[in-house]
Every structure is written in structure tokens, then in C-alpha cells.
Symmetry: D2
Subunit: 490 residues, 4 copies
């Protein structure tokens, strides 16, 4: 789904897939909500549209705040944070929901909260439930009243109807009915709970902070609060954490071969995070190295498309021996959206954010390294800017394979027909973009860069790479119902 406004910050970054959520929780610290706010700030790249925090305090019970906009603009204020007391809190940042018509309403902003007979619970969900439509119909039929258009709300209603006597077991009940990808952080009055789906599509890590514990989408958010990274929550694992008893682990699901999202390595996660024991920065640099080996080209300058192409460009430059330089300068003062913008602004597009370093580019054969090509719109504009500035040649090197299939596991992708690689061959794309050469890293090359020395195991792939391969590890039931055509079996 394209962003609401054609020339907001996202439009400039618009040729990207969008992670939909970041989640964070902490227990056993003073003023837990402050830590959650910091954690969400560090996870802001996973969702910029809105954020929410729920905390629990023995005296005032559950409290919550949900706001549109950046964490730093809302959840740093003393006056707001004072309304979120207590030693236990969870939070969520989001981009947008599958299913919401038009813009997100504040009621779609997580965490979701439910009052059960044994007490309240709040949940924050990263991922996407692929059978949410069917579950929703069933729940409404039985008398549940939905307050949001979010697929994630099903979980809390399933919990409300569970016959189990305690909340963690109700959550197990609920999640066993749910299909798709989910990393969940939840809380009761005393417990912090974390779960990953059996495939482990979305990340979730555990940290230790003083006598307390933290759960986070990524390790970079542990760093900001000064927590120590303990380990990843494993695919199919559920942890129930209290300040007193520490971490208890259960396995509510039938075991499966994990399929972690490989695009987290390519683009979603922050370069300073550690995933699956690997530095994301180093992986991306290595993708650049692989790319330089797979698709070398004689040129004068390796130039990243800022900022996501930078590590791969550094790797490409290092491997190829071609000088690295900042051919494109990013305006640090771009914000996210323009409310009621002038016609002028609407026509500016990428120039509002990027400017070519003309003196560096002029007369040079330039290799532009970008992380991915989705619709190709931004790539075309950047190519034009580079040529206008007098580049002799423009070569695109892309740090991921062609993105030819939509993601149904918690990532915002255009409809399949909008994906450039769904309708064009590599040569057609090169011609469409109007560049001298265009090369994507191979799927095997990507697997090598993430540490799989032998490349992709095509029988039993080590990652979810559906966006490249069309091989979906969980059938997207709701989408098939709506007419989505799976890749024909070969």
C-alpha cells in the first residue's frame, strides 16, 4: 500500500518495503515506561506512524497512552510519562495496518488491552496474522465487539474467550488458533510475556537490565537502555518473566524448521543490531563484497544511496578497490510528512531530501549501491539527478535479489503488479531505469553473505525469502480468499 500522501518522507524513501512494527517490554525496573520509551525510540525505524505504551502500577492499575508521531515527540515528556507509572510496561511502534481503510485511527494503535475475569492483559504484536479475516468473522458471530481494524486484535478476543484460568495459558490457546508471523510482547499485572511464532519470522530478543528484564525486537534497543543482550527468544518459544522468578520458558507450538525473514538483514533491522549471532552491519558490508564479486564493473566511484545503501557500498568499494565517496547528500532536516503542502512541495519529490554532490560526480563513472528496488520510482529519480550532475555512466548495484512477491508476514509491500521485478526481466528493468548497468545480488550470494557458506538450501530454505522466491512458508489464507495468486508449483 502506497503511503497516504505522495510526497511525504516515505514517498522519498518510497521505493522501500516497510517493516510494520517494533515491540519492546520491560519488567523489574523503576518507571518501566521510561525504558520502553527509549527502547521504542531505538526501534523507530520499524514504525514511524504511531506508538503506544501500557504500564502497570500496583496502586493505579493499568495505564496507557497512544499517540501519532514519533516516540521522541510524545513519550519523552514528563507530563505524559508521569501517567504511566510502575515497574512493568510494554510498548509498540507501528507503520500501518493491513485492513485499515485510509489512515490509521488511534484505536488501531497498539498495545491492545483486555480486562478478563482474572485481571487485565495488554499485548503488542509484530507480524501479520494470515487467517485474521476468518477469525474475526467467527468471533463477531459469537458476540465479540472489535474496536479496531487491526488483525492483531483477534489475539486479545481469542484470549477473552479461552477457558483457561490464567493469562499465559489463555495466550497459548489464542496463539494456537492464529496463523502467520508473530512476535508478541504482552503483560499482565505482574508478568512480562514474549512469544515468537514457530517459524520465528520476526525477531525478538531478551536482555537483562539490573534486576529486571527486557524484551525487544532488536538488540539496538537493549543498547540504548544499557541492558545486556542475553539471547534471542527462539522460534516457537514463549517466555513468562517476573521480577521475582526470572524467565520461565515454554513451547506451546509443534516444532518446525525456522524461517527467519532474510530481509531483516537486508534492510529492516538497524545496522548496529545483532541478529542470529551476526552483525547486521557486517552482513550488509558482506553483501557489498559478494556483489562486487558477482557483478564487477569498471568505474571511478562507488556511491551509496543514503542511508540504507551505505554498508554495502563500503563493502563493494573495499572489494573492488574503487574509491568510495558521498555522491548524494541527504538533508538532515527532512521530516516525515507535509500537512497540506503547497503544489511546489508536492512536485519536489526526492530533491527535498537528497542533493547530488555535483563536484564529486561530474565526469565520473558512478556505481550506485542501493539496498533494494521495489517499484523503481526513486531509483529513476536518483539516476536522473546523477546524470544531470554530469556523471559519465551510472551503474546500479542492488544489495538484494529482485523483489517480485509481496510479503504477508508483517511488512508493507505494494500489490504484486506494482513490484517492478514482478513484471520485468532484469534487462527490462535496466532499460526502464535508464542506467548503464543494473545488477542484483543473487539469492545464493545473499545467503552466503548471511553466513550460509553453501548458499540457499532450495529443498528446505534456511530463511523466509518469499518476497524474492515466491515460496511462502505459511499459506496466506485471507489473501488467497481475496484473490491472490500463489506461484505455480514448478
Amino acid at each position: 500500500m502506497p503511503p497516504a500522501h505522495p510526497f511525504d518522507f516515505d514517498a522519498v524513501d518510497g521505493d522501500k518495503l516497510k517493516e510494520e512494527c517494533g515491540i519492546f517490554g520491560v519488567v523489574g525496573v523503576t518507571d518501566a515506561a521510561n525504558f520502553v520509551a527509549l527502547g521504542l525510540h531505538a526501534l523507530q525505524h520499524r514504525g514511524q506512524e504511531a506508538g503506544g505504551i501500557v504500564s502497570h502500577d500496583p496502586e493505579t492499575g493499568f495505564n496507557s497512552a497512544r499517540r501519532f508521531g514519533y516516540v521522541r515527540d510524545n513519550f519523552t515528556k514528563q507530563s505524559l510519562m508521569e501517567t504511566l507509572p510502575g515497574p512493568l510496561a510494554i510498548g509498540h511502534v507501528r507503520y500501518s495496518t493491513a485492513g485499515s481503510k485510509g489512515q490509521t485511527a488511534i484505536r488501531d494503535v497498539q498495545p491492545f488491552f483486555g480486562e478478563f475475569s482474572m485481571g487485565g492483559a495488554a499485548i503488542a504484536h509484530n507480524g501479520n496474522i494470515t487467517n485474521a479475516d476468518a477469525l474475526r468473522r467467527e468471533l463477531i458471530e459469537r458476540g465479540s465487539i472489535f474496536q479496531s481494524s487491526s488483525d492483531s486484535e483477534c489475539i486479545i478476543h481469542l484470549m477473552a474467550r479461552s477457558l483457561q484460568r490464567n493469562i499465559p495459558e489463555r495466550m497459548e490457546d489464542a496463539l494456537r488458533r492464529v496463523e502467520g508471523a508473530f512476535s508478541v510482547v504482552a503483560m499482565t499485572r505482574t508478568k512480562l510475556i514474549g512469544v515468537r511464532d514457530p517459524l520465528g519470522v520476526r525477531p525478538l530478543v531478551l536482555g537483562k537490565i539490573g534486576d529486571g528484564w527486557a524484551l525487544s525486537s532488536e538488540t539496538c534497543a537493549l543498547d540504548i537502555i544499557g541492558a545486556e543482550f542475553v539471547r534471542e527468544i527462539e522460534p516457537g518459544e514463549m517466555v513468562v518473566i517476573t521480577a521475582e522468578k526470572g524467565v520461565e520458558s515454554v513451547r506451546p507450538f509443534r516444532p518446525q524448521q525456522p524461517r527467519f525473514c532474510i530481509f531483516e538483514h537486508v534492510y529492516f533491522s538497524r545496522p548496529d543490531s545483532i541478529i542470529g549471532g551476526r552483525s547486521v552491519y557486517e552482513t550488509r558490508r558482506q553483501i557489498g563484497v559478494e556483489l562486487a564479486r558477482e557483478a564487477p564493473v569498471d568505474a571511478d566511484l562507488v556511491c551509496p544511496v543514503p542511508d540504507s545503501g551505505t554498508p554495502a557500498a563500503i563493502g563493494f568499494a573495499h572489494e573492488s578497490g574503487i574509491p568510495y565517496g558521498m555522491g548524494i547528500i541527504r538533508n538532515q532536516y527532512m521530516g516525515r510528512t507535509f500537512i497540506e503542502p503547497t503544489e511546489q512541495i508536492r512536485n519536489m519529490g526526492v530533491r527535498l531530501k537528497l542533493n547530488v554532490n555535483r563536484a564529486l560526480i561530474q565526469g565520473k563513472r558512478v556505481i550506485l549501491v542501493d539496498d533494494s528496488v521495489v517499484r523503481g520510482t526513486t531509483s529513476r529519480k536518483i539516476k536522473e539527478m546523477i546524470l544531470d550532475a554530469g556523471a559519465a555512466e551510472v551503474h546500479f548495484r542492488i544489495a538484494s535479489p529482485p523483489t517480485a512477491w509481496p510479503c504477508f508476514y508483517g511488512v508493507d509491500t505494494p500489490q504484486r503488479e506494482k513490484l517492478l521485478a514482478a513484471t520485468m526481466s532484469e534487462e527490462e528493468m535496466r532499460s526502464h531505469l535508464g542506467v548503464d548497468s543494473l545488477k542484483f545480488i543473487s539469492l545464493d550470494g545473499l545467503y552466503r553473505a548471511v553466513g550460509e557458506a553453501k548458499g540457499r538450501d532450495s529443498k528446505c530454505p534456511q530463511y523466509c525469502d518469499a518476497c524474492f522466491s515466491g515460496e511462502y512458508p505459511v499459506e496466506p489464507a485471507d489473501m488467497i480468499q481475496k484473490g491472490f495468486q500463489m506461484k505455480a508449483a514448478e
Copy 2:
């Protein structure tokens, strides 16, 4: 003067000198204010606190809007821009004013406007008037009423009292009474006016857009509106521009040897700007090259302090052959200020914005390249983060000489005693920062990097480098009156 709040965005960037203003004007285009807004957006790095635009339209006369905050948050809105019609407009972004007690009031935000008997005029000023206090006393004695605490307001009052019959000549009269550094963009009902002081301390460039003309602090702002860079306004030159007659040039001042601010090359200007015929990016990269020659060190990684240290780090890595890498990751979602922040936030400091790429740093001997050291506060924090992450050695390489003297020409510097280099030798600074080595580029090395092959001409320096040398090309009269001690003659 330290920023108002100790942990806002500026505090994180706090160990920097701050350019106080960016100015922009355009004539001969439809809806000139829209172009000015874009230009100011591209000049936002020169002043983030507030901005203002004045436009003139034959039907509605002069209109103005002044706002706190970023250009993109204010001057992109249709509803505001519609109040600024007409083919002629000027604008200003500012950081803060010498003289305002506490925070800037909206009345201190430029452009300033005055109604004279022959019509109105608006002016926007980049620089600082070193005899403003004396002028102000004299003007008040004669019955002028000041509306702001800005030194720049003197200019408009001097114009109001001039006996000349037209506004450009009144401006000449006024500027001949003024001492210090000034680049001015002004407008009457029909004319766009640009002036630089005889030393040419602050930049000002001329561009052509369609049938119209633009004046800008930097060329990067010409790029954003699609204007062609024509030439710099020369030191001591005044241009009077109309859509009909084009550019007329006069020389109101006694000629002097130009002394352009060398720190514009080091830090203030955007890397994609061209100054004095030189690419700022290339100059900075060259500083890194010089630095690698002057102060080599055996190490494993060259790492920029983002983002201002990046070009010099690239140059240093290239010259030294040591690999370049992103050891410090910047959070893209940092804003400028935290209103009523929590205690937690107040104690976070630099960690809110920067995180160490631990996997890259660990065990390595790291060269950190930064543009300057002012008070040394941020440098210390960054060093601690790097060491906490397991670096084996930390070597600072600074892309400017020691900053030992305050600037009185339009840059916000701490009082002299707060400048680390004013009270410590290089070795004392190294020890204070707690790093394995600390080296600044030499003054001659810096001059070589900006293209002066023979280095600095100590008899007649080619640039204003008072912040390094203590040699002030214009006597800071007001400051001396307030007790500032000039460097003793040698």
C-alpha cells in the same frame, strides 16, 4: 552560549560551533515565497531555531510570517504560503542572537521590516555587527524604538534615519556605519538587494532561475529550486536586482583584502555546496588526506563521528589505506528538542542519538575522525562508548586546528574559558579526553586543503581564522567594551 536545554539535539551535537543564520531571496518568479521556503529548507543547517519570510505582492503589499521550528514544519503549508503572495520574497533561518536574554522571542526572528516615507523594506542579515551596542545607544538617544534584542535591527533604523531618497542608497548609508561581518539580503517593493561586507566573511551567492534571480547563503539552496549558480557576490559588493533590469552592481565600501571564514569549509557549509570555486566535500576529504599525512597512526579502522566527520574520514582512510567503517550509528529519528523531558531522557545524552556498532569496533584499534573539538564534552562521551564496546585503542583525528578563540562574526561560540583549547595544550586535551592519541590538523595543513598550496600567509592571511589564531580582522568593539581580552601582540 550553551543551548537552552542541556540534552536537546544541540547538546548531542553540542560540542560544535553554530552558524547563526542562513539567508535567501528571489525575484521575478511566480509565488516567490515558495522558492524561499525551499531555499531555507536547504539552508536549515545554518539555523534551526526559527525562520521568517517576507514577500511583496502589488495587490496586498508586504506580507510576512515568522515561526519557531523547522522550515518544513511551517513554510510548506498551503494555508500559510497563501498569505505570502507575489513575485519577490526574502527569508531567514536563525539559531540565536547574541544579546537576547534567555530564549529568542518571535520579535527577534528576521527578516526585519521598516516602513519609510518612500515605501517599505525588509532585510535579512547573516553575520554579526561588532559595534551594535554603541549604535543602539545612539539611535535610542535620538528617538528610535527598538523592537528586538537583535544587533541586526540597527541596520533598519539607520536606514530609517538616512537622508537618501531611495532605499538602496539608504542601505549603503546604513551599512557604512556598521562594523563587523554581514551578508545581507533585502527587498523593497520591486528590488531584491544583496550585500557582503568588505571582508566577505559570510558567504552569499547569486543564481538564475528562469527569468528571475536568487540570492543564497550557499549554492546547495540554488540546487533545490533548480536555479543555476551564476557567481558569488564579491566582498564589498552590493547588487540591486529587478526582474526587468537584472543585476546592477555597486561598491559602497572602501576595498579591503577579503577574509572569508575558513570554518565554513570545515563545518558550517553543506558538503554539496561550492564555495570560492571549491567543493566543500572535496575540501573536507582533502583535510582528511592532509591529516593522514600530518598525523599517521597504526590502526585497524577509520571511523567518522557522524555525520560531520564523514568526508574527512573517507579522505583519511583513502590516504592511510586503513579500512573505513561505520563504527558509530546515528538514530535518524532524533529531533531537535525535548520539551519537559523526563529525568531518564535528561541523563541519556549522546546515547539517544548515537549507538556504537559493537561488532565492528570490538578488539580494534580505532581512529575517530571528527571535524572539531570545542568544549570536548561530546568527544569524551563518544570515547567512553567506543571503549565500552571493546575497542583496543582510540585515536582522535580532528579536521580543524584547536578552537581557542570565540567568533564575533555571526557564529555562536562558548565564552573563551569554556573552549578546551583555550586552557589546555594538545597533550593536556588528550589526557583530558582519555584517548590514546589526539591530533589536530595544522593551520597550514588546513590552508593547503582549501587550496592554498603554500599554506597560510601569516602577514596577510587569506581567510578569517580568528577562532584558531585569535587574529580578529575587525576589532570586536562591543565585546572589548564588555571586557573581552584580545590576544596580546607578539
Copy 3:
């Protein structure tokens, strides 16, 4: 429950009972939400804290907006009203909810909405459900998730769980489970629905506007939209209205002797409304006449406590022949609340809103006519102001009997022990207030003023007068559970 802030507008009016809600709905007109906004503006005296509107449009479905503050500040804006299209809409204004801890959250603001398998429905409720706590526990036990702390939300959950196949019948099911006082306006995609409880405690009237229909708490809101008053909805009646078929009436409840709230005549309703075929203004004037007969006193001036005492004062003056005059002047510019007020403001109290007309009062024996005495706080302050201004005597005449019992049917009353008349005799109250005489109208006198020539039928009272008599027509089950002591049987 006392107002949140001790010196807001309500504090000045603080010695009043507060109606908790006004409801309004319309079907069969273009842009129904605009009519609802006007209707709610006319009903603003019934609830000033917040308001909400839900509309339905065949193209965009259900839309809603809920806002804190006055109707005129929110629901008059083009930009908001454009989001509420369609020929069918309902709305609600509210004061506060029994049950919400601290301040009302936006999620407590009605109308409430539920999506059922046969489509959505929205409801707006005026009154109070006396068994809401028990219902809520039962619904949660079965898996319903409540989103608000409002008793009214029970209705929509009961509807969600009904086995009936259409929404009006589900509403019948739901309301048969509910005890207490309720006037309800509801809507489906095509139907406007109105219901009154069997006792008809709260008002609800039907109006005709063009080809459409309106439901309103009071007739004054029909006047503002230019609708013709048709009739009252009868106690125990449910009307289902469509633009096509007009009004269909059903009787879902077992018939009972109606008990309309007599305090609506005394204070809640607007003087220009017609209730039970009687003008509220005329009733109040007649109360003044009765009071002058029951409790005459020799004096120089009849002075209303503005504004609610005015009609009774006019009646009192007319009957007694004593001149009528404005001895107390109201500041028209008082708003509702002071956010973070100064100490000074906090100590001002009633003087911020009322000032004595000293020249009129001085030396006079003054009869002050007020509608009611609740806690007596404002009455004391007014007495002091009058005496400070030099009145010779002060006589209070109150247009209602002593308020000795709380209301549990949708009116915000202090706890019983805070009611002056619950703990003091009339003479004790006189002495407490420090006035020369204090007289309340008798219960029989009040019944005569509302047209019951023979006064109150003590066997089978014609009205609900529980706040005066302690005789509650519906047992307040939740409150008894919480410890409320009913009046001992005599």
C-alpha cells in the same frame, strides 16, 4: 462527585445537580451530522465535558468523531463535519460517567459502536443502568472485552450476544436485561431507533423535519434545527424510524406507572423546552408563585441567583408585588475550566463569575431566589457578597424541596453525606448559611406547580422525586452492593 478542579466554572455553579447526558438523532436529511451538531449545541446544558457523533453513509459506511469540549468548538468545523457524511446520524453530549476513575477518557465518550454479523450499530444513552456492575462481570466472564468504564457499554455487548437476527430485536433483548433509567437513541445502517425505559425517567421527544425525523432529549433542540415537535416518546416505547416507512412503534417492556424526573422541571431542562405538555419556563415561574404564597416575607427586592433562579424570581416578584431587580451580575466571559490556574485564580471562587450590583442592593432587604441547595457552598458565598454590599437583610427562597438523597438515574449528585439537607434541618441550614430566613418550596407545592392540582399522590407518586423523598422507583442494586443505605421503611 465534585468537579475535578475546585474552582472551575462548575465549582461556581458547583452547588448544582448535574444532568449527565443529552442525546439527539436524525434520519432522512442531507448531511444529518450537521443537524445533530446543532441539536447537541442546544442540549449542551445537559453535558459540557465531551460530545460525539456517529453517522452512516452508504458509500463510506459508519463514521464517528468524539471530542472533549463544547459542541460549538468541535462540531462546527467544515473539516471535521465532512468526515461525517450521510443521511442518518446520532450524537451525545456528556458530563461524566459514574465509574470512571479520575477524568473521563475519550473512549468513555458516546455514542458506542459495535459491529455485529448483520451490520453495525451505534447507541447513545441518557440515564444510568443500576445493575451495570453485575452485568459487566457476567459479560467479561463470557469473553466480552470492555473498552470503556461506562455503564452504557453493557447495552452494546448484550446486543452483540443476543441470538436475534436483526438489530432492533437485539436491542430489545439487551434492554430487557438492563435495570434503571434510560432514554436511548440508536442507529443501524438505515434505521434511527429511540427507546425510553418503562418509567420514562429521562425525556425523549420526536420531531419532524422535512421528509426526515429527529429524536431529542428536549424540544429546544428541535427548535434550533427548525423541526416540528410531534410528540414525546412514551415510557416503555421503542420507535424504529426509517426515511421510507416513517415511525414504527413497539412496546418491549411490561407496562408500569410512569415516574418522570421532576428535577427536569426544576433545573435540568432548558426553560424554552416543553415537557409533558408544559412549558418549563412557566412551571418555574409558577414555582416562584407557589413559593411566594407558601413562604412570604416583607422585603424590598426580589433578586434571582443567575441564571437558573430567574424564572422563579420573576414569579415570586409578580405574586408578592415586591420589585424584581438584577442584584447579581454574571460575567458573560466565564469559561468552563482553568488549566493550571494561578493561586490567585484558585482563591477567587464565585467572584470570577458573579459580581454584586452594589448600588441596587445597598440598604435593601433582599429576597434571593435560587433553584436548589445541594451542598450549600455557593449559597454561602453569595450571601457574603450580598451582605458585603450592604444589604439590610437576606432571605433565601429555594425553588425545590431540600435535596436529601442522591440520584442514581443519570444525574451527578454528591455522596449523601455531602448533601446539606441530608444532615441538617431547615433551621440548621438557615443558621449554617447565615441568612435571615431560608424556605424551600414544599413537595406538594412543587407538584402543584407542575400541574398536579392536588399535589403529590403519596401512594403512587406521579414523578420520580427520589432526590427529595428518598423513594427510589428502581432499586439501585450496584450502589446497595457498594454499601448505600436506602431510607428505612416507615
Copy 4:
């Protein structure tokens, strides 16, 4: 000048003349600005558009705040008032300025402030300077820069250019150059200053509060702060007040026969104020008595047009013996303006604020008492509402003579041709309004009601009644320059 928006609160009240300002100052109390805020709140009826306060504190010097909107919404907040410390403060509320094109800018909001060589001064002005245009041209010619479009700013520039050595004497100098009507409250670092023009057109009173002193447009604002009314400042008097020396009085102007504005008695002042030793309420009641004698009519009901017609209606009813009743009910929740209102709202007009009490009016012969008729627009609408409600006859009785001339002394009046009485005879007006009878009080009757037993002295009128008589006590020089035609000498 009509209000900016055709259907705001003022439009509903739109057929009124508008006082343009209220002024207040206090010295010798702790936190003087708080007292000024309260005083301005009590004077809000004199100007609702904006307000400003300047205070002085020995430590922080002069501080000021200017805001659009009601005093109670701005100047009651702790956070704002803390920025206005000190024992001396003045303030101003305003409606709008002659001269400002379109809406008032914040820079037009008083008090105005000037820094002179001997220190700063702030002034607040109620009235209008009739030679302001000429003064402004002269001052600009000499180099003064005006910051506002307000006529009042001339005073501060004239002060800046005075050769006197202290501020009170500079103010004398300035005011001797000024023509027209002015009551001024001003302050230096230590002195509170009050001045009335020689004719004493606008009011100004002196009060005592503890050891301090207050100056106010009206006595009702002394009441709210608990100050004792001392006396009026006399026409042509200047008082200079310090906490230490108390009140010193000087007479800077040539004595003249005073001409206080008689419309202050009719409409502008609050009924609880005392002017010239007379109660405004009592004067208005007496106007009603005179009117009943001058223009009796056989009818069933005397009904005020709320709220300004109420005292005269009470007097009329008392004198005529016809019952008094509230035939028109005012909605207490009307605000001042509707931002971007819907079409629906735009067409509502007076019905948004007033509703007819149909049950009272029906079948009756109604006397409507209003304070004045300006353009007649509201009168027509009210007449229609009354007839629609079934009145048998409608008789207008107006508590002032026909308003046939604009005011140039600080009151906002329509251009002469918009005044109904400027173009129509009384009978033509009656026919235009479509009522059964229409009578205005005679000029002599009005003078009798204000206590001049022999009526108006046509040789030497005791009041300024230019709006009725066309006899202007000060020649409106600027307006004559702009083409205004004075009444021909008879």
C-alpha cells in the same frame, strides 16, 4: 466595520456598537500581573479579540505577553503568569483597531513598549487618536519605524522623540500633540501613570488595594480584585502613582468642558459599574422608565432582548405595570467565533444563540426592549422569530436615540451609510423592521435618565452624544481627510 466573520458571536450580537478597549493597571502589590489579569477579565466586555499584559520586576526587568482570545483562556495559567513577575503591571483588552487591514496581527495588541535612554515604558490606550494618520506620516518622515497599524503607537514614538528628561513629562509632551479621545494607563520601572483627555470621553477610575493602587476603565474591575473605589480620574488629569509616594496629580492640558461618552451608560459599561457617581444598572432601568412614559403601548408582556436590554425592560415593565417575562432564551454555550464553519452553521445566524420561549409568547402582544438599533439586522431576525412563535403584536422600544452617526473616539461603528437611522426616518425603520410599533427614547429623555433633570443643554451638551446628534466635540481630522462629511451647520 463589520466583524471579520459574518456569523460569529459578534454577528449574533452584531447590531451593536463595539467598545474597542479596556485598560487596567496596578502598582504596589505582589504579583501585580495576576491582579491585572483579573481586572481585564472583568473588563472583557470592552474587548474580546486579544489582550496583553506588561509587568516590571527589579530583577528581570520588563516582561510582556500578548495573546489572542479571552483573558480567562490565557492569563489564568500559572506557566504564563510566572513569566510576568513584579509589583507593577498594566494590561489591555481590545476588540479591533481602526486601520488594521483584515484581522488584527499580534503586533497590534497593546500594551506598546518603548526603550528610551532613561529606561523603558509601556502604554495601554482606550480611545482613538483623530490625527493619527498625520502624526504617523510626520514620524516616519523623521525616521521612526512603526511596528503596528495601531493609532496608539504614535504616542510611544512621540515620547521617544521628546526632549524631556523623564518619562511622565515625555508622556505629557506626546499627549499634547495628540487629538481625540484617550484614557491611557502607562508604566515605567517604578511608576503607574493614568491620563484622561481633556474632554474625558472614555472612563478611567482609581482604586486602592492594600498598600497599592489600581487604575481601571470601570469600577466592576476594582470589585473583582477586592479594591476600594477611590474616585474617577478627572478629564484632563494625569496621575503618577508609586507605591511609596502614592498619587500625584498634574493637569497637562488646557481645561475644557467635559464630554463623557453617553453610550457608556447605554451599552458599553457593565451594569454593576458606577460612572460619574451613578449606577449603570439604575440608569438603564431609568431609561426603561422614561421610555414607558414617552412611548407607552397597550400590551401583554415586556420582554428584554437578552442580555443588554434587560435592565431597561425591567424599568419599562415596572413603570407600565405590564408583566415582565423571558420571551427569548439565550444559549449559554455560544462562543465567540466559528473557525471554518459548515454551511449549515453559516446559515443559522441568531438561532444559534437565541431561542423563543414559544409557550410564553404565543398569542401575546409583546413589547421587546433593546438597547440600540445599529444596522437593524438582528432586530429583524428577532422580530421574525417572535412572530413565528405566534405573537399577536410586536412593539420595539429602544433604550437609546437613533444611532445616526459613526463614532471616531474609540468605538467600532459601521460606516455612516450602514446605520439604519442615517438613511431612514423612524416610520421607515418601523416599516423596514416590520413591527407594529417602534420607538426610541428621546435625547432629552436619555439625558434625564442619566440624571440631567432638565435634559440636554443644546448649547453646551453635558455628554458626547455624537453618535446620536452628529455633533463631534473633536474634529475627526483623519476621517475628514478620507472624505467623511460632517453634519452641516444649522
